[in-house]
Symmetry: C2
Subunit: 389 residues, 2 copies
């Protein structure tokens, strides 16, 4: 690693490339935008911290407080618990071998909700709660769009699972995720996905209640539906993660503008192949990830769009290919290749913020709202990432 | 992280999933196979350590010694230097900001060869060597197949670059990489790629020598061409990296057999969607990477092929989709979905070992040649990875 936190590292011209950069001004704006929506919709916002995986970024979510969060790994749950967070939902289906770490968190006073969609899981969670003598609140995963896991709201097993959990004091409610909304390129399509998501969660909660079972939490969310929902009657909380940074996939859908993208990767020009129309950089897939999420969209953005070091887009310049530690930039639409000598630093906006962020140990933080310093934006902070499982 | 090195972690049934596993027996066999080829071909083998990024794995390359290696980052160069390696080639084009770390390694007594393909780079490397008063040996990158960087062997600039380097005592030789060999699905195609790679490197070296310049090192290599080359006359060294672990892309090309694949990821079943033919696991793209290298091959292997915990293939079972922390397994060819209850551990063989390994902090090591222990293969060691840049 380059000298990430050294006091000598002052601007984006200093750390050795490639490295990840977060614009904290854009991050704050993205966070404020969804918080205002959640307030208007009358639901609690439970951000998913899987994108940034950063306690520093999370401190912006709740005005420095330790509000409700969603996590994708027990490593995240443990790191957030260590930082004082006590209201955490682990939104990946639980399996028996992970229960000891769940129980350990519960014994530390953390309300850690687990997720499940089968009687087998309900039975072992209930048994573990009884044996441990501790609360293990569980959410039943509901499938609203055939995307991944979960029970359909009308599935025969729903009330049986609810009953197994309730008998052990574990039933907390239901959770759904409109994963298919990432492939809805119109605002109306996403509004419909948000209605379907809400309807599925509320219908499942109503079925549990009709069977005399509690359904306190009714949790929905994905970044596209969170930004499209018009009415969340019956829903108690909204989850989203990607909205904190956004990315080219979200911009391609129209959920955000390219000027909202808070994450980028700084790379350096290391070669030229004018005969092929290529500029070669030191940022390959190790720095960007192999994610090619825009390949399925109307406008394929390759491995990312290129800006200068201050964040100003360089028109038509796209990262079109990647080796492990090499990126290839080409000019689109017949535009001439810009003159970028060896040593020039650039920023690449990624397809998928969650995947690109995961390739880095942390973020150098700049504030895009501040006047640019010479020779490059000033580094305000370094935010380490939580890694592993 | 799960308790990676705890003495209580005894078999693949113990660490929390997902995690990466290396079969040391297969790794040893893969290493011995290419070493025997290099010996027959009469060239030095300079393995590329970018795949495993592990000092423990590297110790198998040279019978525990610290022989020549190739690296993809200065972080690898520094870690290998710390471990006593003194003959290192940094095979990514050099740019000015990285020179201080190169010079620091040189001053520690490491012969660190840098790579370049332009007069600009030759000029700043020569100037840095003069100013530092230290040797900065450089290789001129030669393009043998239009894959990425490099000069064609007949490029007018070759001897000018050579002269600039030689005047500062920096010219060591030439290096080429047959990157296009990864898309040659026949043995004859790869043999031709190996001839082209050799011919390009040797022709460039001869041009330098004809101009009165030294070309001591003539370096070629890629895993497909290293395993295809029949005659390396004029070449001094062979580089390859992926061959240590291999992967489904290499098996799809026919460079190895599936039983040679040394890297896999252990995942756990967390759900079932029989109505869609899906088994859901806790191993998503965060554990496998987004690499879909077999998508361009005759047989698309999705995100990977599935085996049981002992490594025995489960016929027809493929990881066909991935979210961040969810994998979807489906049965191919109309085969019935196997009965794999929640909590079942499986191994997934990856498309691209370099990319999948990069998603993990290290490897739990098993020895596939030893009789299986109950309930799962014994963990012999934990090999940490070198990360960052």
């Amino acid at each position: 690693m380059s000298a990430a936190c050294s006091p000598a590292v002052r601007t984006l011209a200093d750390p050795d490339t490639p490295f990840a950069v977060v614009d904290v001004d854009r991050t704050r704006r993205n966070i404020a935008r969804l918080r205002a929506r959640a307030d208007r919709l009358g639901v609690t916002l439970r951000p998913h911290v899987k994108t940034a995986k950063s306690l520093d970024a999370a401190a912006l979510l709740h005005d420095g407080g330790t509000g409700p969060v969603t996590v994708s790994t027990l490593a995240e749950a443990e790191a957030f618990a260590d930082a004082g967070y006590t209201d955490i939902t682990y939104a990946v289906g639980i399996e028996p071998a992970k229960l000891p770490r769940v129980i350990a968190l519960s014994r530390r006073g953390v309300t850690l909700r687990v997720l499940l969609d089968s009687s087998e899981q309900a039975a072992f969670v209930a048994a573990a709660a009884r044996e441990a003598g501790t609360a293990l609140p569980a959410l039943i995963e509901i499938d609203c769009d055939g995307h991944r896991g979960g029970l359909r709201p009308d599935a025969p097993g729903l009330t049986r699972i609810g009953g197994l959990l309730h008998d052990a004091g574990c039933l907390d409610g239901v959770l759904t995720h409109a994963g298919e909304s990432y492939s809805r390129p119109t605002a109306e399509g996403r509004r419909r996905a948000a209605r379907d998501e809400r309807d599925a969660a509320v219908a499942a909660a109503e079925r549990l209640r009709a069977a005399g079972l509690p359904a306190t939490t009714v949790s929905v969310g994905s970044t596209p539906t969170a930004h499209a929902a018009e009415d969340l009657t019956g829903v108690t909380e909204l989850r989203a993660g990607n909205y904190v940074f956004f990315d080219l996939v979200m911009a391609g859908l129209g959920v955000c503008d390219r000027t909202d993208l808070a994450l980028s990767v700084v790379v350096t020009v290391i070669g030229h192949r004018p005969e092929f129309g290529w500029i070669i950089t030191d940022g390959g897939w190790m720095a960007m990830s192999r994610d090619r999420g825009t390949a399925a969209q109307a406008q394929d953005q390759g491995y990312g769009l290129v800006t200068d070091l201050a964040g100003t887009p360089i028109p038509h310049l796209v990262m079109t290919d990647a080796s492990q530690e090499h990126g290839t930039l080409t000019a689109r639409d017949g535009a001439p290749l810009p003159d970028l000598p060896i040593g020039t630093r650039l920023r690449v906006l990624p397809n998928h913020a969650c995947a690109t962020a995961a390739q880095h140990h942390g973020y150098h933080v700049v504030d895009g709202s501040r006047a640019a310093t010479a020779p490059a934006p000033a580094i305000e902070a370094y935010w380490p990432r939580i890694t592993g499982w």
